[in-house]
């Protein structure tokens, strides 16, 4: 069963303007997102830039203020409690950032970077702390001599692994990974992805995996949600999405992914153009008058698609 539920999460940023610099409008960065998380599973969040993926992640972990909605963790509502720094929730939910470089304080040594969550959450003795750090280094496959180095002395992949080590330092239940590999080169990306999977297997961690790279998501995730303008257009098991996409937006996204089959590229191009044309033609059917995504409707146990009431009949 799911250990954590996110219900109708909304994050709206005010837009100020007008004569008295009052709030004139809102950016609906996240506009009603509902999710459930189970142990040891990976949940993918895909969408184009600005669709609200990061905001969702940040809202869950407490970096953004939630406008409305609830987060229930192990049966308890933590919507507001998550902003208390050293709560159990904060210990159990950790984050990996897209830019591993900027996610580590450049003026701190690896030792201090890794120790930060341990010191805050676990209150260990210096020896125990040191032991834990060594364990972490072992987990990410690095030797102890890195402890005195500074972040900039590592390659992107190494840094991302350190980032992961830091995230798992206090045995979290869930890790929110916001584009953990999009800044990395292919070969390094592979290292990190492998590594994330290893950890998951070992510790039964759940991931909320945010990415715009459908290839990576497909590789990593059990469940995938496609996001558009702060809402989900489609959510379901990996197979649901990749083999049976229902929403036109999902379709379009999938067709745009480059494939490494050069022989078939011309067909793909034609297909792509077809989908694009279809999208242009029919998109109004998939969004309401305000251009908003319709609420999700289940079309199978695992598969939900956003659609209008009349649309449902058609399916």
């Amino acid at each position: 069963m799911s250990f954590m539920q996110v219900e109708d999460l909304k994050v709206h940023y005010p837009i100020r303007g007008g004569f008295f610099n009052t709030v004139v409008d809102h950016v609906y960065a996240v506009d009603g997102v509902t999710m459930e998380f189970e142990r040891g599973k990976t949940y993918g969040l895909v969408g184009e830039s600005g669709s609200g993926k990061s905001t969702t992640g940040k809202a869950i972990i407490g970096l953004e203020k939630i406008t409305s909605g609830r987060i229930i963790y192990e049966g308890e509502e933590v919507t507001n409690a998550r902003r208390k720094r050293d709560s159990a929730y904060n210990r159990d939910i950790q984050m990996i950032f897209q830019d591993s470089h900027s996610s580590m304080n450049p003026k701190k040594r690896v030792l201090d970077i890794l120790a930060e969550p341990i010191r805050n959450f676990l209150k260990l003795s210096p020896q125990e702390e040191r032991k834990r750090i060594n364990e972490l280094l072992a987990i990410v496959g690095m030797s102890e001599d890195v402890l005195l180095k500074y972040p900039h002395e590592f390659s992107g992949g190494q840094k991302q692994r350190l980032g992961i080590a830091r995230a798992v330092a206090c045995n979290p239940k869930m890790i929110i990974a916001d584009e953990p590999v999009s800044a990395l080169d292919l070969s390094v990306q592979a290292q990190v992805l492998n590594f994330m999977k290893d950890i998951q297997e070992q510790y039964g961690i759940s991931y909320l995996f945010i990415s715009h790279d459908l290839g990576v998501v497909r590789h990593m995730c059990d469940n995938i949600s496609i996001m558009y303008k702060g809402r989900f257009v489609e959510t379901g098991k990996r197979e649901d999405i990749y083999t049976n996409p229902k929403h036109i937006y999902t379709n379009r996204l999938l067709s745009a992914i480059p494939d490494i089959e050069p022989e078939t590229r011309n067909e793909r191009k034609l297909e792509r153009q077809k989908v694009e044309a279809a999208y242009r033609e029919e998109q109004h059917k998939y969004y309401d008058e305000d251009g908003k995504v319709y609420p999700l409707k289940s079309i199978s146990d695992t598969h939900k698609v956003a659609m209008s009431v009349d649309e449902k009949e058609r399916v």
Partner: protein
């Protein structure tokens, strides 16, 4: 755009109000009063006392403040105790002098600083650049008053190239060509002194901007279009670096105003800066408060002006 300007102007009202309160209270705290300077054995102390009472110096401060601000709001800053004239009249005449001085100084500052800054940035680390940087540092390091003193002494008295006091030759009739020339001529030495010292900021800023701009991607784009280097500099690098300078204008004027205190004092130039120091010494409250208010107002205006210029010049922050 207009909305933003109007809003900014409206914000200025409470700001000026706070400033007025602040400066009024400060001024009242100053020891002595305009009549202290009048005491001689032959002035009757009772007469002075009576004048103090008449001037309202024994009223509670808020009453005094209310009277003052109520009049000030209508543009009446009272009478100067020293000059026995409406403050507005005095500041009006001096203001023009300072305005002219500032204007000429600004023009000179820009005339000197822009080419130097541009050259230094363009030929970074060359001998030329190093000389310009040295100059800009020296101009920052020399206290205004030292250079002014030396200039007055050398160019005014030793070489006698420039007049050393006043704003115009009295024997000339207003309106004649000679009259305007004389005014200009009187302004020249203080303005040059000032300009020589006021260039540091702009030179440094421009230099850094240009060095930065040189490495920008858009400069590479421009070069990839195959346009000559000269044009790359003039259309892309200089333009992009210079435009923010335009926004400095507002602040430059503000800076010049406070610098005018030194320049005008040394050159005996009858402007607002000198008026301020004189009024401080003679405790001419009405003038002091009015001047600080005016300077504050001009400063606020200057920063508004800067914002407006910047927004006109830089499409990215166009305010609407």
């Amino acid at each position: 755009m207009w909305k933003t300007i109007i809003r900014r102007v409206l914000i200025m009202i409470p700001q000026l109000f706070i400033l007025s309160l602040l400066i009024f209270i400060l001024a009242k705290q100053m020891p002595g009063d305009p009549f202290t300077g009048l005491i001689t054995p032959e002035t009757d102390p009772n007469v002075l006392e009576e004048m103090r009472i008449k001037a309202g110096f024994y009223d509670p401060w808020y009453v005094q403040y209310y009277n003052w601000i109520a009049n000030a709001a209508q543009g009446d800053f009272g009478q100067s105790y020293t000059y026995k004239k409406p403050v507005a009249d005095i500041i009006g005449a001096r203001g023009l002098n300072t305005l002219l001085l500032s204007l000429l100084s600004v023009i000179l500052v820009y005339l000197i600083a822009i080419p130097l800054g541009v050259l230094a940035g363009r030929y970074q680390e060359s001998f030329l650049d190093k000389s310009i940087v040295l100059y800009s540092f020296i101009s920052y390091a020399i206290p205004t008053f030292v250079l002014s003193l030396i200039f007055v002494y050398v160019f005014g008295y030793r070489l006698m190239w420039f007049p050393t006091s006043g704003t115009v030759d009295i024997s000339l009739d207003a309106g004649t060509w000679e009259y305007y020339w004389s005014r200009f001529y009187h302004l020249l030495l203080p303005a040059i002194t000032y300009a020589l010292l006021g260039t540091t900021g702009i030179i440094q800023y421009l230099r850094t901007e240009i060095i930065d701009a040189k490495t920008m991607d858009y400069v590479k784009t421009a070069r990839s279009k195959g346009i000559p280097m000269k044009k790359v500099y003039s259309r892309h690098i200089f333009r992009n670096s210079l435009l923010p300078i335009a926004a400095f204008l507002g602040f430059t004027i503000t800076g010049l105003l406070s610098g005018s205190i030194f320049i005008e004092t040394v050159f005996g130039y009858q402007g607002m800066g000198k008026l301020f120091i004189d009024s401080i010494l003679s405790r001419d409250y009405s003038v002091i408060t009015a001047l600080v208010m005016l300077f504050g107002f001009l400063a606020l205006l200057g920063s508004l002006l800067s914002d407006i210029i910047l927004s006109i010049v830089d499409p990215r922050i166009r305010i609407d």
